[in-house]
Protein backbone atom coordinates (compact mmCIF):
# COMPACT_ATOMS: atom_id res chain seq x y z
CA UNK A 1 0.00 0.00 0.00
CA UNK A 2 1.18 3.49 -0.81
CA UNK A 3 2.46 5.49 2.15
CA UNK A 4 2.16 9.22 2.40
CA UNK A 5 5.40 11.16 2.36
CA UNK A 6 5.43 14.96 2.50
CA UNK A 7 9.15 15.38 1.86
CA UNK A 8 9.42 17.29 -1.42
CA UNK A 9 11.22 15.25 -4.05
CA UNK A 10 13.65 18.07 -4.92
CA UNK A 11 14.49 18.51 -1.25
CA UNK A 12 15.06 14.78 -0.89
CA UNK A 13 17.26 14.74 -3.97
CA UNK A 14 19.27 17.71 -2.73
CA UNK A 15 19.65 16.09 0.67
CA UNK A 16 20.74 12.78 -0.87
CA UNK A 17 23.31 14.62 -2.95
CA UNK A 18 24.59 16.44 0.11
CA UNK A 19 24.71 13.16 2.02
CA UNK A 20 26.56 11.52 -0.86
CA UNK A 21 29.02 14.39 -1.07
CA UNK A 22 29.48 14.30 2.67
CA UNK A 23 30.11 10.56 2.55
CA UNK A 24 32.62 10.99 -0.26
CA UNK A 25 34.17 13.85 1.67
CA UNK A 26 34.40 11.69 4.77
CA UNK A 27 35.83 8.84 2.72
CA UNK A 28 38.38 11.18 1.19
CA UNK A 29 39.11 12.55 4.64
CA UNK A 30 39.57 9.06 6.04
CA UNK A 31 41.83 8.10 3.15
CA UNK A 32 43.79 11.33 3.63
CA UNK A 33 44.01 10.68 7.34
CA UNK A 34 45.18 7.11 6.74
CA UNK A 35 47.69 8.40 4.19
CA UNK A 36 48.97 11.05 6.56
CA UNK A 37 49.11 8.57 9.41
CA UNK A 38 50.95 6.05 7.24
CA UNK A 39 53.32 8.75 6.03
CA UNK A 40 53.89 9.83 9.60
CA UNK A 41 54.52 6.26 10.71
CA UNK A 42 56.86 5.63 7.78
CA UNK A 43 58.68 8.90 8.44
CA UNK A 44 59.00 7.97 12.08
CA UNK A 45 60.22 4.47 11.19
CA UNK A 46 62.61 5.95 8.63
CA UNK A 47 63.94 8.38 11.20
CA UNK A 48 64.31 5.58 13.72
CA UNK A 49 66.15 3.45 11.18
CA UNK A 50 68.35 6.39 10.18
CA UNK A 51 69.15 6.99 13.82
CA UNK A 52 69.93 3.31 14.27
CA UNK A 53 72.09 3.26 11.14
CA UNK A 54 73.93 6.37 12.36
CA UNK A 55 74.40 4.74 15.73
CA UNK A 56 75.66 1.51 14.12
CA UNK A 57 77.94 3.49 11.79
CA UNK A 58 79.30 5.33 14.80
CA UNK A 59 79.82 2.05 16.58
CA UNK A 60 81.42 0.59 13.45
CA UNK A 61 83.72 3.60 13.16
CA UNK A 62 84.74 3.08 16.75
CA UNK A 63 85.17 -0.61 16.03
CA UNK A 64 87.28 0.11 12.92
CA UNK A 65 89.44 2.48 14.90
CA UNK A 66 89.81 -0.09 17.62
CA UNK A 67 90.58 -2.73 15.00
CA UNK A 68 93.27 -0.53 13.44
CA UNK A 69 94.67 0.13 16.89
CA UNK A 70 94.56 -3.59 17.62
CA UNK A 71 96.31 -4.42 14.38
CA UNK A 72 98.91 -1.75 15.09
CA UNK A 73 99.36 -3.20 18.54
CA UNK A 74 99.60 -6.71 17.09
CA UNK A 75 102.17 -5.50 14.56
CA UNK A 76 104.06 -3.81 17.33
CA UNK A 77 103.82 -6.96 19.42
CA UNK A 78 105.02 -9.12 16.50
CA UNK A 79 107.88 -6.77 15.83
CA UNK A 80 108.82 -6.79 19.46
CA UNK A 81 108.49 -10.55 19.54
CA UNK A 82 110.69 -10.94 16.48
CA UNK A 83 113.22 -8.57 17.93
CA UNK A 84 113.11 -10.57 21.10
CA UNK A 85 113.59 -13.77 19.13
CA UNK A 86 116.47 -12.28 17.20
CA UNK A 87 118.04 -10.99 20.32
CA UNK A 88 117.53 -14.36 21.93
CA UNK A 89 119.05 -16.03 18.90
CA UNK A 90 121.89 -13.62 18.84
CA UNK A 91 122.47 -14.17 22.47
CA UNK A 92 122.22 -17.89 22.10
CA UNK A 93 123.24 -19.60 18.87
CA UNK A 94 126.45 -21.52 18.94
CA UNK A 95 128.13 -20.86 22.22
CA UNK A 96 131.75 -19.81 22.48
CA UNK A 97 132.53 -22.97 24.38
CA UNK A 98 131.23 -25.11 21.54
CA UNK A 99 133.30 -23.08 19.07
CA UNK A 100 136.32 -23.64 21.21
CA UNK A 101 135.58 -27.32 21.36
CA UNK A 102 135.14 -27.45 17.60
CA UNK A 103 138.35 -25.62 16.90
CA UNK A 104 140.13 -27.71 19.45
CA UNK A 105 139.02 -30.81 17.65
CA UNK A 106 140.44 -29.32 14.44
CA UNK A 107 143.75 -28.41 16.00
CA UNK A 108 144.70 -31.96 17.17
CA UNK A 109 148.42 -31.08 17.47
CA UNK A 110 150.55 -28.09 18.40
CA UNK A 111 151.72 -27.42 14.87
CA UNK A 112 149.17 -24.67 14.53
CA UNK A 113 148.57 -21.90 17.08
CA UNK A 114 146.51 -18.73 17.20
CA UNK A 115 147.72 -15.18 17.74
CA UNK A 116 144.46 -13.33 17.40
CA UNK A 117 140.90 -14.49 17.30
CA UNK A 118 137.90 -12.28 16.54
CA UNK A 119 134.36 -13.35 16.85
CA UNK A 120 131.27 -11.69 15.31
CA UNK A 121 127.68 -12.82 15.28
CA UNK A 122 125.25 -11.04 12.88
CA UNK A 123 122.14 -11.45 10.73
CA UNK A 124 122.39 -11.95 7.03
CA UNK A 125 119.61 -11.75 4.48
CA UNK A 126 119.17 -14.87 2.38
CA UNK A 127 118.40 -15.04 -1.32
CA UNK A 128 115.93 -17.52 -2.75
CA UNK A 129 118.44 -20.26 -3.48
CA UNK A 130 119.84 -19.93 -0.03
CA UNK A 131 116.37 -20.07 1.45
CA UNK A 132 115.59 -23.31 -0.38
CA UNK A 133 118.82 -24.78 0.76
CA UNK A 134 118.20 -23.65 4.31
CA UNK A 135 114.69 -25.03 4.20
CA UNK A 136 116.05 -28.42 3.21
CA UNK A 137 118.46 -28.25 6.06
CA UNK A 138 115.69 -27.13 8.31
CA UNK A 139 113.50 -30.05 7.28
CA UNK A 140 116.41 -32.31 8.10
CA UNK A 141 116.72 -30.65 11.44
CA UNK A 142 120.04 -28.98 10.90
CA UNK A 143 119.00 -25.40 10.62
CA UNK A 144 116.60 -22.94 12.17
CA UNK A 145 115.38 -20.21 9.85
CA UNK A 146 113.81 -17.17 11.33
CA UNK A 147 111.40 -15.18 9.19
CA UNK A 148 112.15 -11.56 9.97
CA UNK A 149 110.71 -9.37 7.26
CA UNK A 150 107.11 -8.46 6.44
CA UNK A 151 106.77 -11.19 3.87
CA UNK A 152 107.51 -14.87 3.94
CA UNK A 153 110.02 -14.44 1.12
CA UNK A 154 112.29 -12.34 3.28
CA UNK A 155 114.53 -14.48 5.46
CA UNK A 156 117.40 -13.66 7.63
CA UNK A 157 120.03 -15.93 9.08
CA UNK A 158 122.18 -15.56 12.08
CA UNK A 159 125.75 -16.31 11.28
CA UNK A 160 128.87 -16.35 13.35
CA UNK A 161 131.99 -15.09 11.65
CA UNK A 162 135.40 -15.65 13.08
CA UNK A 163 138.71 -14.34 11.98
CA UNK A 164 141.72 -16.13 13.18
CA UNK A 165 145.25 -14.80 12.91
CA UNK A 166 147.66 -17.53 13.70
CA UNK A 167 150.84 -19.34 12.82
CA UNK A 168 151.61 -22.86 11.71
CA UNK A 169 154.82 -24.86 11.47
CA UNK A 170 154.38 -25.19 7.80
CA UNK A 171 151.80 -25.09 5.08
CA UNK A 172 151.10 -28.75 5.53
CA UNK A 173 150.04 -28.17 9.12
CA UNK A 174 147.89 -25.25 8.01
CA UNK A 175 146.26 -27.24 5.29
CA UNK A 176 145.53 -30.12 7.71
CA UNK A 177 144.08 -27.69 10.11
CA UNK A 178 141.82 -26.15 7.42
CA UNK A 179 140.80 -29.62 6.27
CA UNK A 180 139.91 -30.54 9.82
CA UNK A 181 137.90 -27.39 10.14
CA UNK A 182 135.89 -28.27 7.06
CA UNK A 183 135.31 -31.65 8.55
CA UNK A 184 133.55 -30.12 11.55
CA UNK A 185 129.74 -29.99 11.01
CA UNK A 186 129.48 -26.67 12.72
CA UNK A 187 131.82 -24.99 10.32
CA UNK A 188 130.16 -23.82 7.20
CA UNK A 189 133.04 -22.26 5.37
CA UNK A 190 136.72 -21.57 5.83
CA UNK A 191 138.63 -19.15 3.75
CA UNK A 192 142.33 -18.64 3.93
CA UNK A 193 142.65 -14.94 3.67
CA UNK A 194 146.36 -14.62 3.85
CA UNK A 195 149.48 -16.80 4.36
CA UNK A 196 153.10 -15.84 4.54
CA UNK A 197 156.19 -17.70 5.47
CA UNK A 198 158.23 -16.24 8.31
CA UNK A 199 161.71 -17.15 9.31
CA UNK A 200 163.01 -16.66 12.85
CA UNK A 201 166.01 -17.85 14.82
CA UNK A 202 164.06 -20.72 16.11
CA UNK A 203 163.07 -21.77 12.63
CA UNK A 204 160.62 -20.99 9.85
CA UNK A 205 156.81 -20.90 10.27
CA UNK A 206 153.76 -19.87 8.29
CA UNK A 207 151.70 -16.89 9.32
CA UNK A 208 148.13 -17.08 8.26
CA UNK A 209 144.75 -15.41 8.51
CA UNK A 210 141.56 -17.43 8.25
CA UNK A 211 137.94 -16.46 7.98
CA UNK A 212 135.63 -19.06 9.43
CA UNK A 213 131.90 -19.07 9.07
CA UNK A 214 130.13 -21.02 11.74
CA UNK A 215 126.68 -22.46 10.93
CA UNK A 216 123.65 -20.84 12.53
CA UNK A 217 122.86 -22.65 15.69
CA UNK A 218 123.26 -26.04 14.16
CA UNK A 219 125.48 -27.25 16.84
CA UNK A 220 122.80 -27.56 19.44
CA UNK A 221 119.76 -27.37 17.09
CA UNK A 222 118.03 -25.06 19.46
CA UNK A 223 114.96 -23.43 18.13
CA UNK A 224 114.69 -19.68 18.04
CA UNK A 225 111.04 -19.92 18.87
Amino acid sequence: MHDVDLIPSDYRLRRELITLLRQYGMLAGIILLIGLTATGILAFMNQSLSDRISQLQGEQAISDQQRIQLEALRGSRDRSKRQLELLTQLRSGTSAREIFVTLDRALESDRVWFRKWTFKRAMEALDEAQIQLRQQLQEQGFLIIIPVGQTDQEYWEIRTHMTVDGEARDHSALSEFVARLFAQPAIEDVKVLQTSRQATLQGAFVKFQLAIVVGPGTLNRRSAY
Binding site: M1, H2, D3, V4, D5, L6, I7, P8, Y11, R15, T19
Partner: protein
Amino acid sequence: MRGFSIGKSFGGGGYGAIGLEFALDELHMVQLNRKGDGIALRAQALLEYPLPRDTLLQSREECRALLKHALASENFRGREVISVLPSGGARILPVTYTAGGKLDDEGEIILEAVADRLQGEISDYVIDYMPLRAREGDRDRVAMVAVARRDTVIKYLDLLGHCGLRVQALDVGPMAIRRLVSALSGSSKGENVLVVNFGYASSYLTVISGRRLLFDTEIGFGERQLLEQVSGALDMEPDRVHQLALRHGIDVESGSRHAEISRALREIIQPLFLDLIDDIHKALVYAAAESRGEPVKHVYMLGSIARWPGTADLLGTMLNLQIETIPDPLQAFTPTQKRRRRMRNAVVATRPEMAVATGLALRGIGVEH
Protein backbone atom coordinates in the same frame (compact mmCIF):
# COMPACT_ATOMS: atom_id res chain seq x y z
CA MET B 1 -8.94 -4.77 27.34
CA ARG B 2 -8.18 -7.64 25.07
CA GLY B 3 -4.72 -8.84 24.27
CA PHE B 4 -2.97 -7.92 21.09
CA SER B 5 -0.42 -9.73 19.08
CA ILE B 6 1.74 -8.83 16.19
CA GLY B 7 1.37 -10.76 12.96
CA LYS B 8 4.11 -13.10 11.87
CA SER B 9 4.60 -11.70 8.44
CA PHE B 10 7.23 -9.11 9.19
CA GLY B 11 10.34 -11.28 8.95
CA GLY B 12 13.89 -9.97 8.65
CA GLY B 13 15.95 -8.39 11.42
CA GLY B 14 17.65 -5.20 12.54
CA TYR B 15 16.44 -1.94 13.94
CA GLY B 16 14.19 0.53 12.21
CA ALA B 17 13.97 4.26 11.92
CA ILE B 18 12.82 6.12 15.02
CA GLY B 19 9.20 7.25 15.11
CA LEU B 20 9.25 10.89 16.21
CA GLU B 21 6.30 13.12 17.06
CA PHE B 22 6.30 16.59 18.52
CA ALA B 23 2.96 16.21 20.28
CA LEU B 24 1.23 19.14 21.97
CA ASP B 25 2.96 18.89 25.34
CA GLU B 26 5.49 16.12 24.94
CA LEU B 27 8.07 14.70 22.64
CA HIS B 28 7.28 11.11 21.68
CA MET B 29 9.92 8.78 20.29
CA VAL B 30 9.71 5.04 19.66
CA GLN B 31 12.12 2.62 18.00
CA LEU B 32 11.29 -0.96 17.16
CA ASN B 33 13.45 -3.94 16.29
CA ARG B 34 12.70 -6.85 14.10
CA LYS B 35 13.00 -9.99 16.18
CA GLY B 36 12.61 -13.18 14.20
CA ASP B 37 9.13 -13.06 12.75
CA GLY B 38 7.92 -10.49 15.23
CA ILE B 39 8.70 -7.03 16.48
CA ALA B 40 10.38 -5.95 19.69
CA LEU B 41 10.41 -2.60 21.39
CA ARG B 42 13.94 -1.25 21.34
CA ALA B 43 13.51 2.18 22.91
CA GLN B 44 10.91 4.75 23.80
CA ALA B 45 11.10 8.28 25.13
CA LEU B 46 8.37 10.56 26.37
CA LEU B 47 9.72 13.93 27.42
CA GLU B 48 7.84 17.02 28.44
CA TYR B 49 8.89 20.19 26.67
CA PRO B 50 10.91 22.71 28.65
CA LEU B 51 9.15 25.44 26.64
CA PRO B 52 5.80 25.71 24.91
CA ARG B 53 5.97 23.64 21.75
CA ASP B 54 5.75 26.54 19.29
CA THR B 55 8.55 28.37 21.12
CA LEU B 56 10.62 25.22 21.26
CA LEU B 57 10.29 24.60 17.54
CA GLN B 58 11.50 28.14 16.88
CA SER B 59 14.69 27.51 18.86
CA ARG B 60 17.03 25.17 17.05
CA GLU B 61 19.40 24.87 20.00
CA GLU B 62 16.65 24.09 22.53
CA CYS B 63 15.24 21.55 20.15
CA ARG B 64 18.64 20.01 19.55
CA ALA B 65 19.30 19.75 23.29
CA LEU B 66 15.92 18.10 23.90
CA LEU B 67 16.41 15.54 21.14
CA LYS B 68 19.97 14.86 22.23
CA HIS B 69 18.70 14.24 25.76
CA ALA B 70 15.94 11.98 24.45
CA LEU B 71 18.33 9.93 22.31
CA ALA B 72 20.80 9.60 25.17
CA SER B 73 18.16 8.68 27.75
CA GLU B 74 17.22 5.48 25.95
CA ASN B 75 18.81 2.80 23.84
CA PHE B 76 18.07 4.44 20.50
CA ARG B 77 20.24 3.42 17.61
CA GLY B 78 20.87 5.36 14.43
CA ARG B 79 19.66 8.82 13.51
CA GLU B 80 17.09 7.93 10.87
CA VAL B 81 13.61 9.13 11.82
CA ILE B 82 10.11 9.04 10.45
CA SER B 83 8.12 11.95 11.69
CA VAL B 84 4.93 13.92 11.27
CA LEU B 85 4.53 17.66 11.12
CA PRO B 86 3.44 19.16 14.43
CA SER B 87 -0.35 19.38 14.63
CA GLY B 88 -1.70 22.03 12.32
CA GLY B 89 1.24 21.64 9.95
CA ALA B 90 -0.53 19.26 7.60
CA ARG B 91 -4.13 19.06 6.51
CA ILE B 92 -5.92 15.88 5.52
CA LEU B 93 -8.46 16.35 2.74
CA PRO B 94 -10.75 13.57 1.57
CA VAL B 95 -11.01 14.06 -2.18
CA THR B 96 -13.62 12.44 -4.36
CA TYR B 97 -12.68 12.23 -8.01
CA THR B 98 -13.71 10.47 -11.15
CA ALA B 99 -11.14 8.36 -12.88
CA GLY B 100 -10.93 8.04 -16.65
CA GLY B 101 -11.63 11.66 -17.51
CA LYS B 102 -9.55 13.82 -19.77
CA LEU B 103 -6.59 13.32 -17.43
CA ASP B 104 -5.16 9.82 -17.41
CA ASP B 105 -2.82 10.25 -14.51
CA GLU B 106 -4.50 9.79 -11.14
CA GLY B 107 -2.07 12.18 -9.50
CA GLU B 108 -2.91 14.97 -11.91
CA ILE B 109 -6.63 14.44 -11.38
CA ILE B 110 -6.25 14.64 -7.61
CA LEU B 111 -3.97 17.66 -7.90
CA GLU B 112 -6.55 19.43 -9.99
CA ALA B 113 -9.24 18.56 -7.49
CA VAL B 114 -7.17 19.83 -4.55
CA ALA B 115 -5.94 23.00 -6.24
CA ASP B 116 -9.34 24.64 -5.95
CA ARG B 117 -9.36 24.11 -2.20
CA LEU B 118 -5.97 25.69 -1.52
CA GLN B 119 -5.06 29.31 -1.09
CA GLY B 120 -2.27 30.69 -3.20
CA GLU B 121 -0.09 28.89 -5.73
CA ILE B 122 -0.10 25.12 -5.68
CA SER B 123 3.69 25.20 -5.89
CA ASP B 124 3.66 26.63 -2.35
CA TYR B 125 2.38 23.28 -1.10
CA VAL B 126 3.63 19.76 -0.76
CA ILE B 127 0.93 17.28 -1.64
CA ASP B 128 0.75 13.51 -1.40
CA TYR B 129 -2.20 11.23 -1.43
CA MET B 130 -3.42 7.75 -0.74
CA PRO B 131 -6.33 6.17 -2.61
CA LEU B 132 -8.97 5.03 -0.13
CA ARG B 133 -11.61 3.51 -2.33
CA ALA B 134 -11.07 2.09 -5.76
CA ARG B 135 -13.58 -0.62 -6.54
CA GLU B 136 -13.33 -2.33 -9.90
CA GLY B 137 -15.69 -0.82 -12.44
CA ASP B 138 -16.43 2.14 -10.20
CA ARG B 139 -15.06 5.37 -11.65
CA ASP B 140 -15.92 7.40 -8.54
CA ARG B 141 -13.02 7.18 -6.18
CA VAL B 142 -11.91 8.66 -2.88
CA ALA B 143 -8.38 9.57 -1.88
CA MET B 144 -6.96 10.91 1.32
CA VAL B 145 -4.80 13.86 0.36
CA ALA B 146 -2.20 15.22 2.73
CA VAL B 147 -1.34 18.86 2.16
CA ALA B 148 1.25 21.00 3.87
CA ARG B 149 2.85 24.32 3.10
CA ARG B 150 6.21 23.79 1.48
CA ASP B 151 7.99 26.36 3.65
CA THR B 152 6.58 24.72 6.80
CA VAL B 153 7.83 21.33 5.64
CA ILE B 154 11.28 22.62 4.68
CA LYS B 155 11.62 24.47 7.96
CA TYR B 156 10.70 21.36 9.94
CA LEU B 157 13.04 19.14 7.92
CA ASP B 158 15.86 21.65 8.34
CA LEU B 159 15.20 21.80 12.06
CA LEU B 160 15.49 18.02 12.40
CA GLY B 161 18.53 18.05 10.14
CA HIS B 162 20.14 20.65 12.39
CA CYS B 163 19.39 18.35 15.34
CA GLY B 164 21.45 15.62 13.67
CA LEU B 165 18.51 13.56 12.45
CA ARG B 166 17.92 12.23 8.96
CA VAL B 167 14.25 12.24 8.07
CA GLN B 168 13.44 9.11 6.12
CA ALA B 169 9.81 10.09 5.55
CA LEU B 170 7.32 12.70 6.66
CA ASP B 171 4.10 10.88 7.39
CA VAL B 172 0.72 12.03 8.63
CA GLY B 173 -0.93 11.07 11.91
CA PRO B 174 -3.90 9.08 10.54
CA MET B 175 -1.63 6.85 8.50
CA ALA B 176 0.51 6.14 11.55
CA ILE B 177 -2.57 5.30 13.60
CA ARG B 178 -3.93 3.09 10.82
CA ARG B 179 -0.65 1.23 10.72
CA LEU B 180 -0.66 0.74 14.49
CA VAL B 181 -4.31 -0.32 14.73
CA SER B 182 -3.84 -2.78 11.89
CA ALA B 183 -0.81 -4.23 13.63
CA LEU B 184 -2.59 -4.43 16.98
CA SER B 185 -5.80 -5.92 15.56
CA GLY B 186 -4.07 -8.47 13.38
CA SER B 187 -3.93 -8.05 9.68
CA SER B 188 -6.17 -10.93 8.78
CA LYS B 189 -9.24 -10.06 10.80
CA GLY B 190 -10.56 -7.25 8.65
CA GLU B 191 -12.48 -5.68 11.51
CA ASN B 192 -13.70 -2.09 11.28
CA VAL B 193 -12.12 0.17 13.87
CA LEU B 194 -12.84 3.83 14.50
CA VAL B 195 -10.14 5.92 16.09
CA VAL B 196 -10.90 9.32 17.59
CA ASN B 197 -7.69 11.28 17.92
CA PHE B 198 -8.34 14.35 20.07
CA GLY B 199 -6.16 17.35 19.39
CA TYR B 200 -5.96 20.77 20.96
CA ALA B 201 -7.71 22.77 18.23
CA SER B 202 -9.20 19.98 16.16
CA SER B 203 -9.57 16.23 16.20
CA TYR B 204 -9.44 13.41 13.68
CA LEU B 205 -11.75 10.52 12.97
CA THR B 206 -10.08 7.59 11.28
CA VAL B 207 -11.88 4.46 10.15
CA ILE B 208 -9.78 1.42 9.43
CA SER B 209 -10.96 -1.83 7.96
CA GLY B 210 -8.34 -4.48 8.52
CA ARG B 211 -5.27 -3.12 6.76
CA ARG B 212 -7.24 -0.59 4.73
CA LEU B 213 -7.77 3.03 5.65
CA LEU B 214 -11.41 3.65 4.86
CA PHE B 215 -11.86 7.16 5.99
CA ASP B 216 -10.10 10.00 7.73
CA THR B 217 -11.47 13.42 8.44
CA GLU B 218 -10.60 16.42 10.52
CA ILE B 219 -13.32 17.84 12.73
CA GLY B 220 -13.45 21.19 14.44
CA PHE B 221 -13.56 19.80 17.93
CA GLY B 222 -10.64 20.00 20.34
CA GLU B 223 -9.54 20.38 23.90
CA ARG B 224 -9.27 24.15 23.52
CA GLN B 225 -13.04 24.43 22.92
CA LEU B 226 -13.81 22.49 26.08
CA LEU B 227 -11.34 24.48 28.17
CA GLU B 228 -12.70 27.77 26.89
CA GLN B 229 -16.26 26.66 27.60
CA VAL B 230 -15.47 25.63 31.16
CA SER B 231 -13.24 28.62 31.70
CA GLY B 232 -16.04 30.95 30.66
CA ALA B 233 -18.65 29.14 32.75
CA LEU B 234 -16.58 28.94 35.92
CA ASP B 235 -14.60 32.13 35.41
CA MET B 236 -11.29 30.28 35.76
CA GLU B 237 -8.03 30.38 33.87
CA PRO B 238 -7.90 27.72 31.10
CA ASP B 239 -4.70 26.26 32.60
CA ARG B 240 -6.42 25.79 35.95
CA VAL B 241 -9.39 24.18 34.21
CA HIS B 242 -6.98 21.87 32.39
CA GLN B 243 -5.45 20.78 35.68
CA LEU B 244 -8.89 20.16 37.17
CA ALA B 245 -9.97 18.16 34.13
CA LEU B 246 -6.88 15.98 34.20
CA ARG B 247 -7.13 15.44 37.95
CA HIS B 248 -10.85 14.92 38.42
CA GLY B 249 -12.10 14.38 34.89
CA ILE B 250 -15.76 13.98 34.03
CA ASP B 251 -16.36 10.57 35.56
CA VAL B 252 -19.51 10.96 37.64
CA GLU B 253 -19.53 7.28 38.55
CA SER B 254 -16.22 7.37 40.39
CA GLY B 255 -17.80 8.07 43.77
CA SER B 256 -14.88 10.13 44.89
CA ARG B 257 -15.29 13.10 47.18
CA HIS B 258 -14.57 15.31 44.22
CA ALA B 259 -17.43 13.86 42.16
CA GLU B 260 -19.15 17.22 42.32
CA ILE B 261 -16.36 18.81 40.35
CA SER B 262 -16.50 16.04 37.77
CA ARG B 263 -20.25 16.37 37.50
CA ALA B 264 -20.01 20.15 37.04
CA LEU B 265 -17.39 19.80 34.33
CA ARG B 266 -19.44 17.15 32.55
CA GLU B 267 -22.56 19.26 32.54
CA ILE B 268 -20.68 22.18 31.05
CA ILE B 269 -18.94 20.31 28.26
CA GLN B 270 -21.54 17.68 27.35
CA PRO B 271 -23.36 19.90 24.83
CA LEU B 272 -20.13 20.42 22.95
CA PHE B 273 -19.83 16.67 22.47
CA LEU B 274 -23.06 16.58 20.45
CA ASP B 275 -21.35 17.78 17.27
CA LEU B 276 -18.63 15.20 17.81
CA ILE B 277 -21.22 12.48 18.28
CA ASP B 278 -22.87 13.55 15.04
CA ASP B 279 -19.54 13.31 13.16
CA ILE B 280 -18.82 9.93 14.70
CA HIS B 281 -22.22 8.64 13.62
CA LYS B 282 -21.53 9.73 10.07
CA ALA B 283 -18.19 7.93 10.20
CA LEU B 284 -19.87 4.77 11.48
CA VAL B 285 -22.44 4.85 8.70
CA TYR B 286 -19.73 5.46 6.11
CA ALA B 287 -17.67 2.56 7.44
CA ALA B 288 -20.65 0.23 7.26
CA ALA B 289 -21.43 1.34 3.73
CA GLU B 290 -17.86 0.91 2.55
CA SER B 291 -17.45 -2.54 4.11
CA ARG B 292 -20.73 -4.08 2.96
CA GLY B 293 -22.57 -3.58 6.23
CA GLU B 294 -19.78 -4.63 8.52
CA PRO B 295 -20.23 -2.58 11.71
CA VAL B 296 -17.44 -0.87 13.57
CA LYS B 297 -16.29 -3.33 16.22
CA HIS B 298 -14.07 -1.04 18.26
CA VAL B 299 -13.92 2.66 18.90
CA TYR B 300 -10.60 3.81 20.28
CA MET B 301 -9.76 7.26 21.43
CA LEU B 302 -6.47 8.92 22.12
CA GLY B 303 -5.04 12.37 22.50
CA SER B 304 -5.67 15.25 24.82
CA ILE B 305 -9.31 14.76 25.86
CA ALA B 306 -8.80 10.99 26.06
CA ARG B 307 -6.62 11.69 29.09
CA TRP B 308 -9.53 13.24 30.97
CA PRO B 309 -10.94 10.56 33.25
CA GLY B 310 -14.51 9.70 32.24
CA THR B 311 -14.33 10.73 28.59
CA ALA B 312 -14.73 7.16 27.36
CA ASP B 313 -17.76 6.71 29.60
CA LEU B 314 -19.36 9.95 28.37
CA LEU B 315 -18.78 9.09 24.71
CA GLY B 316 -19.92 5.52 25.21
CA THR B 317 -23.13 6.67 26.84
CA MET B 318 -23.84 9.19 24.11
CA LEU B 319 -22.98 6.78 21.28
CA ASN B 320 -24.37 3.70 22.92
CA LEU B 321 -21.12 1.97 22.06
CA GLN B 322 -18.18 0.71 24.05
CA ILE B 323 -15.42 3.27 23.80
CA GLU B 324 -11.89 2.42 24.86
CA THR B 325 -8.77 4.39 25.25
CA ILE B 326 -6.41 2.98 22.67
CA PRO B 327 -4.36 0.21 24.31
CA ASP B 328 -0.87 1.10 25.31
CA PRO B 329 0.68 0.61 21.91
CA LEU B 330 4.03 -0.40 23.29
CA GLN B 331 2.67 -3.22 25.45
CA ALA B 332 2.02 -5.17 22.29
CA PHE B 333 5.74 -5.38 21.58
CA THR B 334 8.09 -7.50 23.61
CA PRO B 335 10.97 -5.39 24.87
CA THR B 336 14.40 -6.43 23.68
CA GLN B 337 16.49 -8.31 26.26
CA LYS B 338 18.75 -5.30 26.63
CA ARG B 339 15.74 -3.09 27.30
CA ARG B 340 14.32 -5.60 29.80
CA ARG B 341 17.57 -5.51 31.74
CA ARG B 342 17.66 -1.75 31.54
CA MET B 343 14.06 -1.34 32.68
CA ARG B 344 14.12 -4.01 35.40
CA ASN B 345 13.88 -1.54 38.25
CA ALA B 346 12.58 1.47 36.37
CA VAL B 347 9.07 2.82 36.38
CA VAL B 348 8.32 3.38 32.74
CA ALA B 349 5.60 5.80 31.78
CA THR B 350 3.68 4.38 28.86
CA ARG B 351 0.78 6.32 27.49
CA PRO B 352 -1.68 5.81 24.66
CA GLU B 353 -0.41 9.07 23.18
CA MET B 354 2.59 7.15 21.95
CA ALA B 355 0.32 5.69 19.27
CA VAL B 356 1.40 8.03 16.49
CA ALA B 357 5.11 7.63 17.28
CA THR B 358 4.63 3.85 17.41
CA GLY B 359 2.82 3.86 14.07
CA LEU B 360 5.70 5.85 12.61
CA ALA B 361 8.20 3.41 14.10
CA LEU B 362 6.27 0.55 12.47
CA ARG B 363 6.82 2.25 9.13
CA GLY B 364 10.45 2.56 10.16
CA ILE B 365 10.83 -1.22 10.17
CA GLY B 366 8.96 -1.58 6.92
CA VAL B 367 5.57 -2.67 8.21
CA GLU B 368 3.24 -2.24 5.27
CA HIS B 369 -0.07 -2.36 7.12
